[in-house]
């Protein structure tokens, strides 16, 4: 179960108007439980195209894609209910402005469940619960989503997806535009959601510090091809990631610099500040 890409490619015939980057020969397996995957790659590497295959917004040009047991092929199949697949895989777009439209937060969160034929009373109850899950209290239910701060809007948008209880949650650059505290809180939120619900979470991001600290698996795209699919630890031990426009996380960069400057016997692959401090103290003493 989960999502299975087998040699999936996507491209438009030439000269046709398209906003999507092509992807080629993607083979990838995503479990339906407890994954924490970061999808990285420079702008235009095909991350969003790949993400939009995960809930069948885009159909592969070639290859097989399987979403929770349903085979998706290039031809739109009348028997396949694409909509019901989207209930399994929730996709949160980068800008909450793309989806917020109701006059209250409550109604906006209810939009998804109602589309998936949940009753009104139940949907109301769900809205209350999911709002709590994304860290906003009940006073937000009757507020206008357009008067919220950027971070709050993002949370409401995420609640709008969580409301129909997808097994896999895909988020496109959820921390962009947030200040450092906003970023940390957002990442904590995802951890918490995963702890409470066991959902698989996939995040598209450019922030390698977040990848290194939080992800259990990184998928790297470059020019539409999947070049690495491994743990962050293994990825950042590789040399020469710069040629794929990937930065090394700050702990590795800073510790590497120190190691070379002071000729220390230091393990530079530390995932956070406190580990880095401990390792450094040990090395200097």
């Amino acid at each position: 179960m989960g999502i299975r890409f087998q040699e999936v490619s996507f491209h438009y015939p030439q000269n046709q108007l398209t906003y999507y980057q092509a992807i080629a020969n993607i083979t990838l397996d995503i479990e339906s439980k407890n994954e924490f995957i970061c999808l990285v790659g420079r702008t235009g590497s095909g991350k969003s195209t790949l993400a939009q295959h995960m809930n069948a917004l885009l159909l592969p040009t070639s290859g097989t894609l399987e979403i929770f047991g349903t085979k998706i092929t290039a031809k739109r199949d009348k028997k396949t209910n694409y909509n019901s697949l989207r209930k399994h895989v929730g996709l949160v777009f980068q800008f909450p402005e793309y989806q917020l439209f109701e006059e209250t937060v409550e109604k906006d969160i209810m939009f998804g469940p109602l589309n998936f034929h949940t009753g009104i009373d139940e949907a109301k109850e769900i809205a209350r619960e999911t709002l709590k899950l994304v860290g906003l209290d009940e006073s937000y239910l009757n507020r206008n989503p357009f008067n919220l701060s950027g971070g709050e809007k993002k949370r409401v948008a995420i609640a709008g997806i969580l409301a129909f209880d997808p097994d896999i949650l895909v988020l496109d650059e959820p921390t962009s535009g947030l200040d450092p505290r906003g970023k940390t809180q957002m990442m904590e939120l995802f951890k918490e959601i995963q702890d409470k619900t066991g959902k698989s979470i996939i995040i598209i991001t450019h922030d390698m510090d977040l990848v290194y600290e939080h992800a259990s698996r990184v998928v790297v795209l470059y020019d539409g091809e999947l070049i690495y699919d491994e743990s962050p630890k293994a990825l950042f031990k590789r040399e020469g990631l710069e040629k794929y426009h990937l930065q090394y996380p700050s702990p590795i960069r800073v510790l590497k610099d120190l190691k070379e400057r002071f000729d220390l016997d230091l393990d530079i692959y530390q995932r956070n500040l406190s580990d880095a401090v401990t390792a450094l103290k040990r090395a200097v003493k």
């Binding site: 420079r42 702008t43 235009g44 701060s149 950027g150 971070g151 962009s176 535009g177 947030l178 200040d179 450092p180 505290r181 906003g182 450019h206 922030d207 510090d209 426009h245 930065q247 700050s250 702990p251 800073v254 610099d257 120190l258 400057r261 002071f262 500040l273 406190s274 880095a276 401090v277 450094l280 103290k281 200097v284 003493k285």
Partner: protein, 266 residues
């Protein structure tokens, strides 16, 4: 008298909530300052008041001896250019050439001179090969560089970057910062509005805003030494300085010193 003087500036949309509270900043010619603040601290509102898009409730702004008001608005805007956050929402022209020309057209620059300046400033930001391209075929970073060229072509002396890198990926961000460094070296006064400490550290001086007021203002080396500067705020020191601050006690002086020094290395 300073080049830019902001005195007792206040601003509010409604009576209830004051967005800017008694802001006072003096900026010298050729300086590079970073205005650092959390989301909603009022830093972008400040930028909009400086360029006369919002009218302050109280206080004054003086640029190069000219006090900003309705009569002097256009002459102040000739001196200050601003690059906004969203690359797509500030591209006026149908092509790169047209967009760079837009400001000059408003200043009634003759056509021959416009063409010359377009060539020169497009080359300066590395966009000379894209003059006939439409915005849909440009990346966010390229659009921001076109915006810079358009402002430079108006022979502006001060440039404000209002979170101009926040919608770019790290690579484009670094590239844009390199261009800003170059501009500063050529004598442009730069005001950089951001919540990214790494970007702020490229400036000479930091102004930290919190809830609409100035929380701290001074040379970056001095400010960042205060241990509780970012305590309880949404901002954060860069990793190297957080690491240095954790290395208390004897035996770490050398490492600490090196980390400090490298954090300020441009």
């Amino acid at each position: 008298m300073s080049y830019i003087e902001i005195k007792d500036l206040s601003f509010s949309y409604t009576k209830k909530r004051q967005i800017l509270k008694n802001i006072g900043i003096n900026i010298e010619k050729g300086e590079w300052i970073a205005i650092l603040g959390h989301n909603g601290s009022g830093k972008s509102t400040l930028a909009k008041t400086i360029v006369g898009l919002l009218e302050p409730g109280a206080g004054s702004i003086t640029v190069d001896g000219i006090k900003l008001d309705q009569d002097t608005l256009q002459s102040v805007r000739r001196k200050i250019g601003i690059v906004f956050q969203n690359p797509d929402n500030q591209f006026v022209g149908v092509t790169v050439r047209d967009d760079i020309a837009f400001g000059m057209e408003n200043l009634c620059v003759p056509k021959a001179e416009m063409l010359e300046r377009i060539e020169y400033f497009a080359t300066k930001v590395g966009m000379e090969k894209f003059l006939d391209k439409e915005p849909a075929s440009l990346s966010g970073g390229q659009k921001q560089r076109v915006a810079i060229a358009g402002i430079l072509a108006m022979q502006t002396e001060i440039m404000i970057f209002d979170e101009a890198t926040s919608m770019l990926d790290p690579y484009a961000r670094g590239d844009l910062m390199e261009h800003i460094k170059k501009l500063h070296n050529e004598g442009l006064t730069i005001i950089m509005i951001t919540h990214e400490i790494e970007e702020a550290l490229l400036a000479d001086r930091l102004v930290i805003m919190k809830d609409g007021a100035i929380f701290a203002d001074g040379p970056k080396e001095e400010l960042l030494k205060k241990p509780d500067l970012f305590q309880g705020s949404a901002l954060e020191l860069p990793f190297s300085l957080r690491l240095a601050n954790q290395l208390t006690g004897a035996g770490f002086e050398e490492v600490r010193g090196y980390l400090w020094e490298s954090a300020f290395r441009k």
